[in-house]
């Protein structure tokens, strides 16, 4: 049985597994839904709530069990600020971008920080440098405090390890960390999206090297299934930012995750690869 409210709200009850999906309106045309496992009693309360009556309906059971928490890591797109030719990124742009998020009712939640480190091989004969990875990046992500990621971009390798791998690399003394950068800023909740706007700065300096934005869509882990929704969101976002007439725009480059041995199901390794790609773009922007 299906009932639709004025806003197209839908509730799905699956036999043996109770889920509550709510649709709400973002902008004027886009709807999003978030599955939540609830008890039958909770569901009954929702259904009896006058406010939600217009937003919920009951669909026939599908018999599909809800995904386990391990399977539902939300996917994210990492955008970076591309300055117009002849311009550079500055803190005013960062401030304007943050205001954009708040102007579309993004609720500020707190701070976030990820760290990226460049590693270089320690070689006895520098002339043989070409035999070793040119860019070995180490990444520590806010979302995985006990993990560390190494990316060898040229070889399309992403390694996930415990954070103690840093200690091992330090003891090996074969690769040494040279430069580290912070990606840090504030995160915002916007319906089923979580946004993180951040500056890119060296760890021992406040020189702004770039601006990034994580767009995380909470309900889905499939890159393919989420593509349309993410593109819709980014289009709306780009339109919002363009109204500020800033000297640049946000860009999203989707890596070929398959080359890194990663699947359609999103993981923190995908995030690490995106950071490596963005870092390369930021370096290219500075050089240009």
């Amino acid at each position: 049985m299906e009932e639709k409210g004025e806003n197209g709200g839908r509730v799905r009850i699956e036999k043996g597994f109770n889920q509550l999906l709510c649709r709400f309106v973002f902008g004027s045309t886009t709807h999003y839904q978030k599955p939540v496992n609830v008890s039958p009693l909770t569901l009954a309360c929702f259904c009896s709530d006058d406010v939600l009556q217009d937003r919920v309906s009951i669909l026939p059971p599908t018999g599909q069990p809800p995904p386990s928490p391990a399977e539902t890591m939300p996917l994210k797109w990492l955008l970076h600020w591309q300055p117009n030719a002849g311009t550079t990124v500055n803190s005013q742009i960062l401030s304007e971008v943050s205001q954009c998020v708040e102007s579309i009712n993004g609720a500020k939640e707190g701070r976030w920080k990820s760290t990226l480190t460049f590693y270089r091989p320690v070689l006895r004969d520098q002339t043989l440098q070409a035999e070793y990875p040119r860019d070995c990046l180490g990444i520590s992500l806010q979302e995985q405090p006990n993990k560390y990621y190494f990316i060898l971009r040229s070889q399309r390798i992403v390694l996930e390890a415990d954070s103690t791998i840093q200690m091992i690399m330090e003891k090996l003394q074969s690769y040494k960390s040279r430069v580290s950068l912070y990606f840090e800023g504030f995160q915002y909740q916007l319906g089923d999206f979580q946004l993180r706007v951040g500056k890119v700065v060296p760890t021992h300096s406040e020189n702004l090297r770039g601006i990034v934005m994580e767009v995380e869509y909470l309900p889905i882990s499939s890159l393919d299934k989420s593509r349309q929704i993410m593109e819709d969101f980014v289009d709306i976002w780009q339109e919002t930012v363009s109204k500020r007439s800033l000297p640049g725009h946000f860009m999203h480059i989707e890596p070929n995750f398959a080359e890194y041995g990663l699947s359609d199901h999103y993981t923190s390794q995908h995030t690490a690869v995106q950071y490596a790609i963005v870092m390369a773009q930021l370096i290219a922007s500075v050089r240009n």
Binding site: P121, C136, I157, D162, S163, T164, K171, Q173, S174
Partner: protein, 250 residues
Amino acid sequence: MVLDCCLHMKGTNTGTELLICVGLLRDEPKLRAMECVVQGIIETQHVEALEILLQGLCGVPKERLRIHELCLKSGPNLGAVASEVRLLCDLEQPEPTWTVRHVGGAMRGAGAEQISVLVRTVVESKASKNVLRFFYTLGYKLDHELLRVGFAFHFQRGAQITVTVTSVNKMLKLHATEEAVPVTPGIQLVEVTAPASSDNYTEVVAAISSFCEYLAPLLHLSKPNVSAGVVPTAAAAAASLMSNGGGKTL
């Protein structure tokens, strides 16, 4: 690294002496990851008896071990000094899991010489399954590989102690774990290890030493590379254990 330094001003009849005490260099903020370890060998025919003894002492079920250990060394041009890292692939799991292990230098000095347990720095990290390819790409080469097959007991007895009993096997073909053959046929390696820190290693050493006394009739445990061979009483002790059916002290 932090250099602990304290400054004392001491007044004496002959004037003021300035004493500078320099403490130990220590890692901040975490205490150094260390490991206490002893090893011994036992004839394969006595392993069952050892298992009975360990079952009685530990009171926990054994864990099967099948570890593919790859020892990697840095290439000739990499690093100011040569480095070594071990990759451990646990083949006993439904999906093999990988661990990176770095064994550092052992504690040295007069104090270290006097204790019968080796204390060394060890750091481990779980890693994704492409870790071998990662290290190859960094410039590390395979030095040798082994397959360790046996069992382990993990228990708490003054310290978190692990006893492993394994047959160490070599592979005749690269990575051919199914065709591994014992390095020393008829002999298995026994290791007793416990994690420690710079703050508590003396207690851990004492716990290991105390536990090892229970195993003395079957095998002699000592620092690695200080082998005492098999124990003469092993056969009799094993026979006693087998006839008792386990659960009783020797």
